[in-house]
Each structure stands twice: as C-alpha cells, then as structure tokens.
C-alpha cells in the first residue's frame, strides 16, 4: 500500500465510536481510501454508502482426504496442533471450523492422500462514496477468524491515495495487530468510563509494542470526571479531539449520517484532527 498517510482507528472497547471517527475522517480527507477491518461487524458502509461496485471472495485452503489413498496411518491426526482431524470409524475426518489452514497434514501425509480445496470464509466489497473509496471486509457468520480477510485487504488495495483510514476491530488480540501493522499513526477512540479507560490502556500498550505514534479522541464526553482523559494525561497520550455527547450527534449516527456533512463546527474539528495527525506523523 503506497499511500501518503495511513491512519488506524482503534479502541479496545467496542462501541466507543471507531467507525464514527474513521468514517468522518475519511470523508474530510482528500483522495481517501477507507478500509473496514472490523470484519466481524463491519459498519462503515452504513455511513459511506453506495452500491457495491466490486466484490472479491476470500477463501482459505481446507484439507480433503482421498480415502482411496489414505491408509489410516494417523500421522496427520497426531500432527495437527489444532485437533482439527480425527480418525473416526476407520476414516480421517476434517473439522473445517477448527482447521487453521496451516497445510501441515498435507505435508506430513506419506500417501499424498490430502489435497486442498478453497473454502469461502468471507468477502471484500468495494464501494465509492463521494471522495472516498470504501473497502469492507466481511466475515461469514459462523466462521471463526477474519484475520485472512484483513491480510488480503491490506495487500490488495491499489495505491495512489493521499490518505488511508483503517477502521480496526475492537479488542487487542492478533486480529487488531494485522490491521495496524502498516499504519503510520493510531487514533485511539475512548469514552468517559472506567470500562473505556481500562480498554484504552490495553490498546495503548499494543501501539507501544508496534512503536506506533498515537493520540486519543475522547468521545461522548459529559463534563464529568473522565477516567480516559486521566489515563491520557498520566501516560502522555496527546488528546487530539474532544467530542461531547450530544443528542443530535447520537441521532446522526443512529440514522447512518456523517456528522461532517451535517454540522459545520464538527466538520472543522475533523479537518483540524486530520491536520494535527499529519503534523504528528511528520515529527
């Protein structure tokens, strides 16, 4: 991905406003690409709307045992670290829900009885909204891991954008790391609760592991004591923007509208946020 500025938006806790911040940032930027990496619950396209222009399947290789060649030696069953294979009534059975597609069974099989087929686990959709190219990773319900969808998104997006906005999944597990690996800057979105602050700490630790510069957007602030603000101040996390809780903002989000298109003041705030991030990256 050869884009000038790559910004990952993450939060630890769900529902603090990642998609809200990411979609509005994308709209305010020039020649932007928006990558929805929250593949379990992608929502960016509900704000950056448009018909699907293109869709790519994401498949994973799955083992299939040729029972004519298999001599039940059990080597694959014993080798599989994920217990995704079992010898049941004299036949090797594959449990594809727990298979990690590592290919080990195929390598170890002395009879060459294991072939792989492509199993669809999700897709990537492309849309266009105004100045933004919108890519959405979508995991099929019932599938365990969307890591491969994120990897594919990060590697197949065409270059030439000025700004890439990456909407990360919640949490701080491996799937989040795949989404921030390429980022120049991480925006941490937090809410004014002890829950928000606790998960902000977890995700801040994660950015430190990757040596990524980061700053916080305090969302839904209410003028009361804010554990997330205290965390930022105690840990030298720059506070980039403070967005108060307001019924009109809540309505725009509920209806799938971008606030930068509705509210002049917030539009200026988001423009300033983007400018501030560009400056922080150049430091």
């Amino acid at each position: 991905m050869d884009t000038n500025l790559k910004i990952a938006v993450l939060s630890g806790k769900g529902g603090t406003g990642k998609t809200f911040v990411a979609s509005n940032l994308a709209k305010i930027a020039n020649r932007a690409v928006y990558l929805d990496c929250d593949v379990e619950e992608p929502n960016g396209h509900l704000f950056l709307k448009g018909p699907v222009l293109e869709a790519f399947d994401v498949d994973l290789p799955m083992p299939e045992v040729n029972l004519d060649l298999c001599d039940n030696c059990r080597k694959c069953v014993d080798f599989c670290a994920f217990n995704a294979l079992a010898l049941i009534s004299g036949r090797v059975k594959v449990f594809d829900k727990i298979c990690h597609s590592c290919g080990g069974c195929k390598v170890i099989c002395p009879q060459n009885a294991i072939e792989e087929y492509n199993k669809n686990i999700g897709k990537i959709e492309r849309r266009h909204y105004d100045n933004v190219d919108v890519y959405t990773g979508i995991l099929n319900p019932g599938e365990e891991s969307g890591t491969s969808i994120i990897k594919k998104m990060m590697t197949t997006i065409p270059s030439g954008y000025e700004t890439a906005i990456i909407d990360s999944p919640p949490g701080s597990a491996c799937i989040v790391m795949d989404s921030i690996e390429d980022a120049d800057y991480c925006v941490l979105v937090a809410e004014p609760t002890t829950f928000g602050a606790h998960n902000l700490r977890m995700v801040h630790e994660l950015t430190k592991v990757f040596n990524k510069p980061c700053g916080a957007v305090l969302n839904k602030t209410n003028g009361e004591e804010d554990p997330s603000r205290i965390y930022c101040m105690d840990n030298n996390v720059p506070i980039l923007l403070d967005i108060p809780w307001r019924k009109d903002i809540s309505d725009y989000i509920a209806e799938g509208s971008l606030v930068v298109e509705k509210d002049k003041e917030l539009s200026e705030s988001f423009a300033a946020l983007l400018e501030r991030i560009s400056q922080e990256v150049q430091k």
């Binding site: 630890g12 806790k13 769900g14 529902g15 603090t16 998609t19 379990e40 619950e41 929502n43 509900l46 080798f79 670290a81 994920f82 990690h100 597609s101 590592c102 290919g103 080990g104 390598v107 170890i108 995991l139 319900p141 019932g142 599938e143 365990e144 891991s145 969307g146 890591t147 990897k151 999944p169 919640p170 949490g171 701080s172 597990a173 491996c174 799937i175 989040v176 790391m177 809410e191 004014p192 609760t193 002890t194 829950f195 606790h198 998960n199 977890m202 995700v203 630790e205 994660l206 592991v209 209410n222 009361e224 004591e225 019924k247 809540s250 309505d251 989000i253 509920a254 209806e255 799938g256």
Partner: protein, 289 residues
C-alpha cells in the same frame, strides 16, 4: 445449572451493564467475563479477596536456533501465517506464529523447536460466589481457547449454583462462538442505531447453529424510537422473543465509574432490567418439567 450468556454483535451496546445488573438482581452465585480481549466486568463487581491467578498457555511457538539454521528458506516458504522472516537470519514473529509446527516438519537441519508461551491470565474469585475472568495478552490469538477455559473454571467451581451469568464479547468470531457453546439462553443487547441493527442480524445468524435459545432487548431505546421499532418488528417477523427495552440513563456512566451497576440505583433503568430479567427467566424455564 442454567447458563445465560449476554452478547451484542456490536460493541458498546451495554453487555457488561446488563450482565452486572442481572448478577445483582438474581443474586447470581456464578458469573464469568468471556470478553477476554477487553474484560470489564471486574470493574463493577467489587471483590473483597484477591483472585486465584493462573497462567494460560497457548500453543507453543516456533523458535529457530541460529546455530543450526542453514538458511534453506523452507520454513518461511511453508509458513501460511507469514510468521517467519529473514532479516540477517531467520526469525519467528511470535505474534503471527499460530503454533502449527509445519516449520519443524520441513526444516532439514532440525533447527526449530516449539517453546511454551503464556498468552493470557485467568483469575478466579471465590467469595461465597464464583467469578471467573481472564485477560488475553495483547496481540495474542487463540482467544476462543481462553474463553473455553474461563467457562470451565466457572463450572468446575460452582457446581451448586442454580444460575450462571456470562458476559460475552463483541463480534461474531471465535471468542463468541466459544462462549455460545453449552449455554441455555443468549440475551442479545441491541441499540437503536443502524449499526446496532446490522450487527444484531449477524449475531443472530451466528447463533442459529447452536441449540441455545435467543432473546433480544434494546438498550438506550429512547434515543431513537423509530430504530427501536424496527428491531422489535424484526424480532416478531423472525420469531425471536423480545424481552424489553432499557431507557437511556445519563447517570449510567457515572454509576459505572463508581463501580456500581444500574440495578444499584432506583429508577426507570432498574425497573426495565427487572422486566427483562423476568421475561428472560420465563423463556429460560420454558419446556422444563
């Protein structure tokens, strides 16, 4: 023991808020936090004693002995997780390694061994009740295995409890799937936004493959009545029991910040959660004789 799991699909709709209130109202003697990526239940469930802590070992990770490595590149070529790179010698990226051992299989010089690694910590509180929780080390995978372990800790230690409340994680992936297995009732907490609705549909689809009963409630319903109506109609069209709504309470965040639940304060939010609890218990007990 009957097990109730709280899920939402979308994050931040109020899973922990509902879970903690239900624990209080039902005086549950067994509860767990399965949101191992971002656990929060312990912040509102004040415990007097220190928890019993234990390490959670994930699958061992590969380690390449530089003295034995002959730089044949086979391990890198065969790693499907891009966990091996060659920067002045072959090294394994611990975060990317899933522990499949394929590299040990293809290495011609026996240079790779699998070494144990701690990927999280389990905590078990026992104070007349049992509270099982865990925290996954950041950047780790295998959160589904840790969720299964959290539940196992809960069940083994609370055999005499009548009911268990389990706080789930957002999303529809492996930790959610691991948390649904074996529970009796899933309560989905939705919110009246376009995202809340979209995500609710996806989590309902995900739970379809499981025998657990599913019920829906809407938190902060009065922030957008039209969207709340939409969720209620969706449930009635799809035969999913709707168990109630919780009004927006601007004091909710300050209660949480004081380590309290919505059930600790008299008012419309508490009353509405009592209704949700009663309807949920009825659904839970239906078909029992």
């Amino acid at each position: 023991m009957k097990k109730i799991l709280i899920l939402s699909g979308k994050g931040g709709t109020g899973k922990t808020t509902l879970s903690s209130s239900l624990i209080r109202l039902l005086d549950a003697k067994a509860y767990a936090d399965c949101d191992v990526d971002a656990p929060n239940l312990h912040l509102v469930m004040e415990e007097e004693n220190e928890p019993l802590k234990s390490d959670f070992l994930g699958l061992p990770a590969a380690y390449i002995d530089p003295a034995k490595c002959i730089s044949c590149d086979l391990c890198r070529q065969n790693c499907r997780f891009d966990a091996i790179t060659n920067i002045n010698g072959y090294i394994v990226n611990d975060h990317a390694c899933e522990g499949c051992k394929v590299c040990t299989l293809v290495c011609p010089s026996d240079a790779i061994e699998m070494v144990p690694r701690v990927i999280g910590h389990l905590s078990l509180y026992k104070n007349g009740h049992v509270f099982s929780t865990a925290e996954l080390k950041m950047g780790s995978g295998n959160s589904g295995l840790l969720v299964t372990e959290v539940k196992k800790h809960l069940y083994v230690n609370s055999k005499n409890a009548d009911i268990a409340i389990i706080d789930g994680s957002p999303g529809i992936g492996c930790p959610v799937i691991a948390s649904i297995s074996g529970v009796d009732l899933v309560i989905l907490v939705s919110e009246p936004t376009i995202s809340g609705f979209n995500d609710m549909e996806r989590i309902i689809k995900t739970s379809e493959g499981f025998p657990a009963k599913v019920a829906v409630c809407v938190n902060k319903f009065d922030l957008h009545l039209e969207n709340t109506e939409k969720i209620i109609s969706y449930c009635s069209e799809n035969g999913i029991p709707f168990v109630g709504t919780i009004p927006f309470d601007k004091d909710a965040s300050s209660l949480i910040n004081q380590g309290k639940t919505l059930a600790d304060k008299d008012g419309p939010a508490r009353d509405s959660i009592i209704k949700i609890m009663e309807r949920s218990m009825k659904i839970l007990n239906e078909g029992d004789n």
